[in-house]
């Protein structure tokens, strides 16, 4: 017989698997009310996401499935994160990633997908949004103690900004402390290599795999 705690955790998993943001948020609040360890709740969610991610990789599910599940998890996270802080605990995360579209670029969908999928895969993500000046990337990397910075550029004119950020990283002595990954329609493998980035991937799910590889280095 399932006890109330198990039922709540099961409902949370269900919310993720059914991409139900409302249910995810409601159940997250129940987790807090029922004094369930929020870290257990988060593990249950990332477990569900991992399964969905694997199914996507096998070709059994679609990109909207992955995005839907990530969105549901993102709906529940703020409530759980707040509880974690209140308890004085710390959320284990795979690493901290600063994400943004470079200065001059307002294309947001791909970047937002990457941020969502990274969060769902257990990374702590600081999404700086779009049109991000190199200064802001540097500040965020410093203040978040980022392990990875992920930049996107979708126009051939904005892709040069990624090079600028690389130069700023070197100037401020941060280059060794953070891994750099780049993406976006205007970015190529060659360009990533030329500017000295640590990795490049043209798709959102690929970006997550790349982040996993980079965090292990």
């Amino acid at each position: 017989m399932n006890n109330p705690m198990e039922i709540t955790i099961e409902n949370l998993r269900k919310a993720i698997c059914e991409y139900d943001n409302g249910l995810a948020l409601k159940t997250a609040k129940e987790v807090v009310e029922q004094n369930i360890d929020p870290l257990v709740a988060i593990n249950a969610m990332t477990g569900a996401i991992r399964e969905i991610g694997n199914a996507f990789g096998r070709g059994d599910l679609w990109l909207p499935d992955l995005v839907g599940a990530s969105d549901a998890m993102q709906a529940a996270l703020p409530v759980l994160d707040e509880e974690i802080q209140r308890r004085g605990a710390q959320r284990m995360n795979k690493g901290v990633v600063v994400v943004g579209a470079v200065f001059g670029d307002i294309h947001s969908i791909g970047k937002t997908m990457v941020a969502a999928l990274l969060t769902a895969s257990g990374f702590k993500v600081e999404d700086l949004g779009v049109n991000v000046q190199s200064k802001r990337f540097i500040e965020a990397i410093r203040s978040c103690h980022a392990d990875i910075v992920a930049m996107s550029a979708l126009m051939t004119t904005t892709v040069a900004e990624q090079k600028k950020v690389m130069e700023e990283l070197k100037k401020t002595g941060l280059r060794e402390k953070v891994k750099v990954m780049v993406g976006g329609a205007a970015v190529t493998e060659e360009f990533a290599r030329t500017i000295g980035a640590d990795g490049y991937d043209p798709t959102a799910p690929g970006a997550v795999e790349l982040a996993m590889k980079l965090i292990e280095k």
């Binding site: 070709g59 307002i106 294309h107 126009m155 051939t156």
Partner: protein
């Protein structure tokens, strides 16, 4: 009959519903414009703007009035000011291009970044090929400053072809010097009467005009340069996953561009553009060779027909990365889609890999494909002469038409298409000649053209002035 009937995939009622929904979207939701200045300009021109939300909405009457005023035909001129195409009169025009990043290296057969020299060579090939009417920017040179890449590309193209050029800037600061270069080449004070280039611009789906694009639109419309409005939403990402909804969003965005142009410069030439793309939800990638894009090419042309304006689309397109059968059938299907749609302007000769890579061989092959569909579009001429009743009766049973005057009269006059590189020989002869496949033959042909074809050079004065424009632009960065 000649002048084949265009294929339809939408009924008249369906076209009307899409149009009506587009008007609703423009009236109630509107477009986001990332520039307060531009918003103010359009507010003064009669649109409803919300500066705080950065949106503009379009009264129905304004949209309808603008649509009434657009020219039904758009003439295009070459570098010498001579008429080279008339879009909207029923003839198909085909173009090389457009904006790729990689080149499949001619010598090494490896993918590498495109260079300015490549762009010049593609233009030279395009200049030679009789079935390339208009020359696009085949690739964006990666060996020059990123910000001035397009200026260098346009420079390379103007120096290697006399044909009309097709280009797309990302912002006004780049468009303006390119228009200056066009004036230099034409030796004219303005481009209104005979523009040697057509500009292509895109909103950012859904329902957004970025600062760069909208400012470039204003610069283009002001000058009366033909403008190809080309939204490019991806199904299920930046537009509805369903095709009818996708067409509607595309249409609304196109209408917004038309209205902007007509308000800035009433009667300025516009082209209904399309780069139909769907999004593969398994691989998270944009595709342009899917059967849906074939349907969309045809549906889009019906919307353009509804508005009585010339239609542009992309073809032949493929998502294959090598010259295999997938490449061949996707290119064939998409080219046929464009042809069955009776497109006025078809751009993308030379591309594969979802428009990221180009090669000299592919341009030769796509030119062959353009040639094939142009023959299709000429149809079957039926008259006294072609019915050849008297010839049939004269030659009679057991006769032979090879030596008949009728046959001789029609040789080489267009009744039968002649390929440039396709194989037509019997096996034995083909084997004796080296068993070359079409890619091999295209490779050889490309080499010969680049080696031997010459274009009249621009005068030293024009070349110097163009370099000055580029230098000034780069110094201002």
């Amino acid at each position: 009959m000649e002048n084949y009937k265009k294929l339809r995939v939408l009924s008249n009622n369906e076209t009307l519903r899409i149009h009506e929904n587009s008007l609703k979207i423009l009236e109630h939701t509107g477009m986001y414009i990332d520039s307060e200045n531009v918003l103010r300009t359009f507010s003064e021109l009669g649109l409803y703007t919300d500066i705080a939300k950065k949106t503009v909405t379009f009264p129905r009457k304004t949209v309808e009035k603008c649509l009434e005023g657009i020219p039904r035909e758009v003439p295009l001129y070459n570098r010498n000011g001579a008429l080279s195409a008339e879009l909207g009169k029923g003839k198909i025009y085909t173009a090389s291009g457009h904006n790729a990043i990689y080149v499949l290296d001619y010598e090494r057969n490896e993918r590498r970044n495109a260079t300015k020299e490549d762009v010049g060579k593609f233009a030279l090939l395009s200049d030679y090929l009789p079935d390339i009417d208009i020359v696009g920017i085949e690739a964006m040179p990666q060996d020059v400053k990123a910000e001035s890449s397009l200026l260098h590309a346009v420079d390379a193209v103007f120096n290697n072809t006399e044909k009309h050029i097709f280009f797309s800037p990302e912002r006004a600061e780049v468009a303006a010097p390119i228009f200056d270069i066009a004036k230099i080449v034409l030796d004219a004070g303005n481009l209104k009467k005979m523009s040697p280039l057509t500009c292509q611009l895109s909103p950012t789906s859904p329902l957004t005009w970025e600062k760069g694009a909208i400012e470039a639109l204003i610069e283009t419309a002001k000058r009366g340069v033909p403008l190809c409005l080309l939204p490019q939403p991806f199904t299920g990402v930046t537009s509805p996953y369903t095709l009818a909804g996708h067409i509607t969003l595309h249409n609304a965005e196109t209408l917004s561009g038309i209205v902007f142009c007509q308000l800035i410069n009433p009667g300025s030439p516009v082209i209904y553009g399309s780069g139909w793309s769907t999004f593969d939800m398994r691989t998270a990638n944009v595709v342009i060779g899917s059967p849906e894009t074939v349907l969309l090419r045809i549906a889009g042309s019906q919307m353009a027909e509804f508005y009585h304006m010339p239609y542009h689309t992309i073809a032949p397109d493929t998502d294959a990365h090598v010259m295999d059968e997938q490449l061949a059938w996707e290119k064939c299907a998409t080219a046929w889609g464009a042809y069955l749609a009776h497109s006025d302007l078809i751009v993308n000769g030379g591309m594969f890999s979802t428009g990221l890579t180009v090669s000299f061989e592919q341009l030769i092959l796509d030119s062959e494909m353009f040639s094939y569909i142009k023959r299709l579009s000429r149809g079957i001429r039926v008259d006294e002469d072609t019915l050849a009743l008297d010839v049939i009766e004269r030659v009679g049973p057991k006769g032979n038409y090879l030596d008949s005057e009728h046959t001789l009269k029609h040789l080489g006059k267009g009744e039968h298409w002649e390929p440039m590189v396709s194989t037509r020989e019997v096996y034995e002869n083909w084997r004796k000649k080296g068993m070359k496949d079409i890619v091999h033959k295209a490779h050889e042909k490309a080499g010969l053209i680049i080696k031997n074809h010459r274009v009249v050079e621009l005068s030293d004065r024009k070349k110097k002035e163009i370099q000055k424009v580029i230098r000034n632009f780069e110094n201002s960065l």
